[in-house]
């Protein structure tokens, strides 16, 4: 074991960890030692090729195929310098007041989160794309919404020099997407914060982090770690856990914190989602241009949100229910495909939680509630109307049997698309907005941390990531995560003055 000592150790470099790193840069400039440990690798610009399988393997946990305990849902999250911000799409929304207020976390106000979110939106160059930059996969969604009577809103996105490669979820090959890997982490490093990649925090003890640094695998992407491979004991005045909604609860659970924190791992939510495809009779611009420009928010009325999206051949094939010639015919129509993502706004539910197995590895237990299935069905019906409204000739609908509707059958949408057709383990559900597990609240009886991310009864330990959400956010979460992490950095800076 090699011993090291720092003033602050941040575990994870994603939306939360990257934000804390930059927030603590003033301390680093004053000579305090601030360290970020990142389990994943650090890639050079030219290693972002946009190739589906090789990028998924390099950037995602389990190559993007992490499954829930019963194998019925895939969870996508990054394991790389920048965390999931290296693979997110960069749609940038500010939390709704009704959601933050419904959490009822003492000391947390919507006004404060919104103000901080706006600051990060500016830092990340968030803006609306010009009409000329928006492709037909997106404009057809807007046109279909108008036909079908839905209100489409434009997503602000955080790009700078976007060339419209549509490859955001495979890591931007043009360094255009403004994630923590491009903005906060490099700025923090320039100001003296140290970032060590391929460094997994395996355990946390009182003011101490046990770390395993791995060698770069032969032929894999990414540079070797900044530290020699081996086991380290890193002493720290303060520890900030920012490993994401799966990584953070798992690390704290395997370190034994569950004994005094009964809510640790509980309250996991993730906006379970389907990818739907509709085929047009002509080629459209879909796999060129930024993939995500519009959404429809029906969270309050029907519990779902619709977003435009564009995926790659393997992910698209995997997202169709069933198998065989009909599915293949959709893939063969790739240049004519329009895609919509249906997300259910799930709520924290008893039993949906992060746990660890006998080796300390994360296991996510998740059951689809009736509300979630109803929301997915309602979102699927709405999407079918939007596809046909936009002129699609046929639509693949996972909640119909058989799972295909043709334009002349558009009048049968309500009868054909039914929640009863949802069979867990057959219908492809995936999620990328992972939340909860270290929820904020007032005491250990109802939560894991206070509103400043301080873990109850452990003043030296804080959490600063998506695991802080006491319940789902019902919109794309990264700006809110940054806002929460910014509060954590502020609290640590204040502690340092005292």
């Amino acid at each position: 074991m090699i011993d090291r000592a720092y003033d602050v150790v941040i575990i994870g470099s994603g939306a939360g960890g990257g934000t804390v790193a930059l927030g603590l840069a003033p301390l680093a400039e004053q000579g305090r030692r601030v360290l970020v440990l990142e389990q994943g690798p650090r890639l050079a610009d030219e290693e972002f090729t946009g190739e589906e399988l090789e990028m998924a393997e390099a950037l995602y946990a389990d190559s993007g195929g992490f499954l829930t305990a019963d194998g019925t849902m895939t969870l996508a999250f990054g394991r790389v310098y920048g965390g999931s911000t290296a693979v997110y799409t960069g749609t940038s929304l500010i939390a709704e007041p009704r959601v933050v207020e419904s959490w009822g976390v003492p000391g947390l106000s919507h006004t404060d989160l919104a103000e901080r979110s706006r600051r990060f939106a500016e830092q990340n160059n968030v803006h609306l794309l010009e009409p000329v930059e928006i492709n037909e996969n997106n404009t057809l969604f807007a046109a279909g919404c108008e036909q079908a009577g839905f209100e489409a809103q434009q997503f602000p996105v955080n790009v700078k020099g976007c060339r419209g490669s549509s490859l955001c979820n495979l890591g931007c090959p043009n360094a255009a997407k403004q994630g923590t890997d491009r903005v906060q982490l490099p700025a923090a490093e320039r100001r003296g914060v140290e970032v060590v990649s391929r460094a997994e925090a395996t355990r946390i003890e009182e003011k101490l982090v046990v770390v395993r640094v791995s060698a770069a695998p032969a032929g894999g992407k990414g540079s070797p770690s900044e530290w020699e491979p081996g086991e380290y004991r890193v002493r720290a005045g303060a520890v900030v856990v920012a490993g994401g909604a799966v990584g953070s609860p798992a690390l704290l659970l395997r370190s034994g914190f569950g004994k005094r924190l009964p809510r640790l791992g509980e309250g996991f939510t993730c906006h379970p989602a389907f990818i739907l495809v509709g085929e047009h009779s002509r080629e459209i611009t879909n796999d060129v241009g930024h993939p995500k420009s519009y959404y429809v928010d029906r969270a309050v009325e029907e519990g779902y949100v619709l977003e435009t999206c564009m995926y790659f051949p393997f992910v698209t094939a995997k997202s169709l229910v069933g198998f065989g010639a009909t599915n293949e015919s959709f893939l063969r129509a790739f240049p004519r495909l329009q895609m919509i993502l249906v997300l259910a706004c799930d709520r924290a539910t008893a039993g949906n939680r992060v746990a660890v197995d006998s080796r300390g590895q994360p296991v996510v237990h998740y059951r689809f509630t009736d509300e979630v299935v109803r929301a997915l069905a309602a979102g699927t019906r709405a999407s079918a109307r939007i596809f046909f409204g936009a002129g699609a000739a046929r639509v693949h609908v996972p909640l119909a049997s058989p799972p295909e509707l043709r334009a002349p059958e558009a009048g049968e949408i309500d009868e054909r698309i039914r929640p009863e057709h949802f069979v867990a383990g057959t219908v492809p559900v995936s999620a990328a907005h992972l939340m909860g597990g270290c929820g904020m609240g007032s005491s250990a009886a109802d939560s894991v941390t206070d509103s400043w991310g301080r873990v109850h009864e452990h003043p030296w330990l804080r959490v600063a990531d998506s695991s802080l959400f006491p319940d789902s956010l019902q919109i794309n979460p990264y700006l809110t995560i940054m806002a929460l992490a910014d509060r954590v950095a502020e609290a640590i800076r204040e502690d340092a003055i005292r």
Binding site: L22, G23, A25, P26, F48, T49, G50, E52, L53, G65, D70, G71, T72, E122, Q123, N124, N125, H127, L129, E130, V132, E133, V159, K160, G161, C162, R163, G164, S165, L167, P173, Q178, R182, V183, Q184, P186, A187, E283, T285, D287, V288, G289, F312, P313, F314, A317, K318, G322, F323, G324, A325, E328, L331, R332, A333, F334, P335, V423, G425, T426
Partner: protein, 145 residues
């Protein structure tokens, strides 16, 4: 996973993606190598489970149809896999899900197949398609805190 049940595996793969029937020997090798590579990082228990599933599916029609899966016609094969994917047994549905995912990964992971379906995404985006690209406002504050 593949060698002992290669014929069984390929007949399953062709039922899942009929286009796989057009693969030549090199194409199959490529598909199978991708699947093996994806399985390399997975727990051995998963690899064993998948191998068992392939063999079980191969032999399952013997009683009813007096033939192995790989000797059946397309319609019968499709019927059998459809029953498996709708099975009341979650373990079986999961197993089929895993197998289906691997076949799709092996097949659609091939650059030839991606090209043949007309997938055009390119790091150069608009410029690759049209020789030019539109730009938006670029005045961000990089790295400010």
């Amino acid at each position: 996973m593949i060698p002992p049940g290669r014929r069984a595996f390929r007949s399953l793969a062709v039922t899942i993606v009929p286009g796989a029937a057009r693969l030549d020997a090199e194409g199959w090798q490529d598909v199978e190598a991708r699947i093996e590579a994806a399985l390399r990082t997975r727990p051995p228990r998963l690899r064993r489970g998948l191998r068992l599933l392939v063999l079980a599916l191969e032999w399952s029609p013997l009683l009813r149809h007096r033939r192995r899966f790989s000797r059946l016609d397309d319609a019968r094969r499709t019927q059998i896999l459809d029953r498996v994917q709708r099975s009341p047994n979650l373990l079986l549905r999961r197993g089929f899900w895993g197998l289906r995912t691997l076949v799709l990964l092996g097949y659609y992971g091939r650059s030839e197949v991606r090209r043949s379906v007309g997938y055009r995404a390119d790091p150069d985006g608009w410029a690759a398609l049209m020789g030019d690209f539109p730009t938006g406002p670029e005045d961000g504050i990089e790295g400010g805190s």
